[in-house]
């Protein structure tokens, strides 16, 4: 298990809200930070890797927990800053 300091729980939220919440958190974190995303909408299986690829983030581990339908994604934000006003 990777050690992460921040968990972003988006279970119960439907896409694209898990992605939006992850995007908003990533803007607040220092470059190179890691966080754990919890989600229940399987749409994250497409959305999060595509978003990571686009912005230089790294999704380094994915698990579907024994808890019902909870997807766990460990994400490391890009080393260079990618921010906007939103």
């Amino acid at each position: 298990m990777n050690s992460t300091t921040i968990t972003l729980d988006t279970t119960g939220l439907l896409c694209p809200l898990p992605l939006i919440r992850a995007q908003d958190l990533a803007k607040e974190l220092a470059p190179g930070s890691s966080f754990l995303l919890l989600a229940s909408d399987p749409g994250v299986y497409y959305d999060i890797p595509a978003w990571c690829r686009m912005h230089g983030h790294e999704m380094f581990q994915v698990e579907e927990s024994s808890q019902e339908n909870v997807i766990q994604m460990w994400i490391k934000t890009a080393e260079t800053t990618s921010r906007s006003s939103e």
Binding site: G12, L14, C15, P16, L17, L19, I20, Q23, D24, D41, P42, G43, Y45, Y46, D47, A50, W51, R53, M54, H55, S82, R83, S84, S85, E86
Partner: protein
């Protein structure tokens, strides 16, 4: 606005809905060497996303956010912006009114262009112009020559709003006049036909693009708009929260009287989704038989709960029994069972169904 200089490249922001038009419009400008970022606004009324995730029968399809897919195909960065709260003002009080249903398309477009123009890119710089996939005559409310001028003016973008797919049918914009983009490479599409776009997509090699029937917004849907009107009428105020508008996309909605409405799952995926609302709404299912889960929205009395249970039983495997056991769960965790007779088909009046 600061002009681009030899030290700062021209930057544009493209409104990315996830459909074909915004894909093509952005590609046309990217091919001219312009630095483009995309933006997609999440209003809560978007057709994709929620419904894909809720309904089990749609789970065989590849689930993807089409705006993200478009940006990925184009190799551009995408801002996805949650505008649910501020978008309420557009839905509740559209200056230019509604379209055929509760779709405030013109106000919506003005809002999105204005928001896009005032954003800052991932590099911290403002954008020089906005790209939109609009085509003259494509949509009856917002995509007409007259309304395009209104959008340009009232968004504050004026001649910084470029519509590459129909630009040759419109006056030259600032990016064209300044030579940032070559007007000759832009297009002159018009009308409702999608053939020119499909031909251009083929030329670019795009094949797997989204083709949402009836647009990308639930507010253009008559059934959905009926449910939203019912929500406002029975609550006595025109307002909503995100959960309200998401639940309007789910299940059968039946209103036996002004005190309550029943939201009845149509399949397993919806059943599972509605279970997530157990701490907010009264839930009813049939304990003695297989059947749907239902939520009660409103303030039902004892008799209303029996009426609701009889409706739920009608859609259960116990519909032909003389008596079944309905289980009523309250948000505080209290439960009670009701022995009830399922309604027959003719006992459920047509007018109880909302938005069918």
């Amino acid at each position: 606005m600061e002009q681009p200089t030899k030290f700062r490249a021209v930057k544009a922001i493209a409104l990315i809905s996830g459909g074909l038009d915004s894909l093509l419009a952005t590609k046309v400008i990217l091919d001219q060497g312009i630095d483009v970022e995309g933006v997609n606004f999440f209003t809560g009324f978007c057709v994709e996303g929620h419904t894909q995730a809720i309904r089990k029968r749609q789970r065989e399809k590849i689930k993807r956010n089409n705006a993200l897919w478009v940006a990925d195909q184009l190799g551009i960065k995408l801002h996805i912006v949650d505008v649910v709260q501020e978008y309420k003002e557009i839905v509740l009080n559209p200056k230019h009114g509604y379209g055929k249903n509760l779709n405030p398309c013109l106000d919506c477009k003005i809002f999105m262009v204005e928001r896009a123009l005032n954003m800052v890119g991932f590099d911290g710089c403002k954008f020089d112009f906005v790209i939109s996939g609009e085509v003259i005559g494509q949509r009856p409310k917002s995509q007409r020559r007259e309304t395009m001028a209104i959008i340009s003016r009232e968004s504050g973008a004026h001649d910084r709003l470029l519509r590459p797919l129909c630009a040759k049918n419109l006056p030259a914009t600032l990016p064209e006049r300044e030579g940032w983009v070559n007007r000759e490479t832009l297009h002159d599409f018009s009308g409702r036909s999608r053939k020119p776009q499909m031909t251009l997509a083929t030329e670019y090699g795009f094949t797997d693009y989204a083709q949402p029937a009836g647009g990308c917004c639930f507010l253009t849907d008559q059934n959905y708009s009926s449910k939203l009107s019912d929500l406002w009428n029975t609550r006595g105020q025109r307002d909503y929260e995100l959960d309200d508008i998401v639940l309007l996309k789910v299940g059968r909605h039946l209103r036996p009287n002004h005190r309550f409405k029943l939201i009845l799952a149509r399949e397993e995926g919806e059943n599972n989704f509605l279970k997530g609302y157990r701490q907010q709404y009264i839930q009813i299912d049939i304990a003695s038989h297989t059947g749907p889960l239902a939520l009660i929205d409103g303030d039902p009395n004892e008799n209303d709960l029996r009426v609701a249970s009889r409706i739920v039983a009608r859609y259960s495997q116990g519909r032909n029994e003389s008596n079944v056991c309905a289980r009523v769960r309250f948000p505080d965790g209290e439960e009670k069972n009701l022995s009830i007779q399922p309604y027959s088909a003719h006992e459920i009046p047509e007018h109880w169904h909302i938005g069918v």
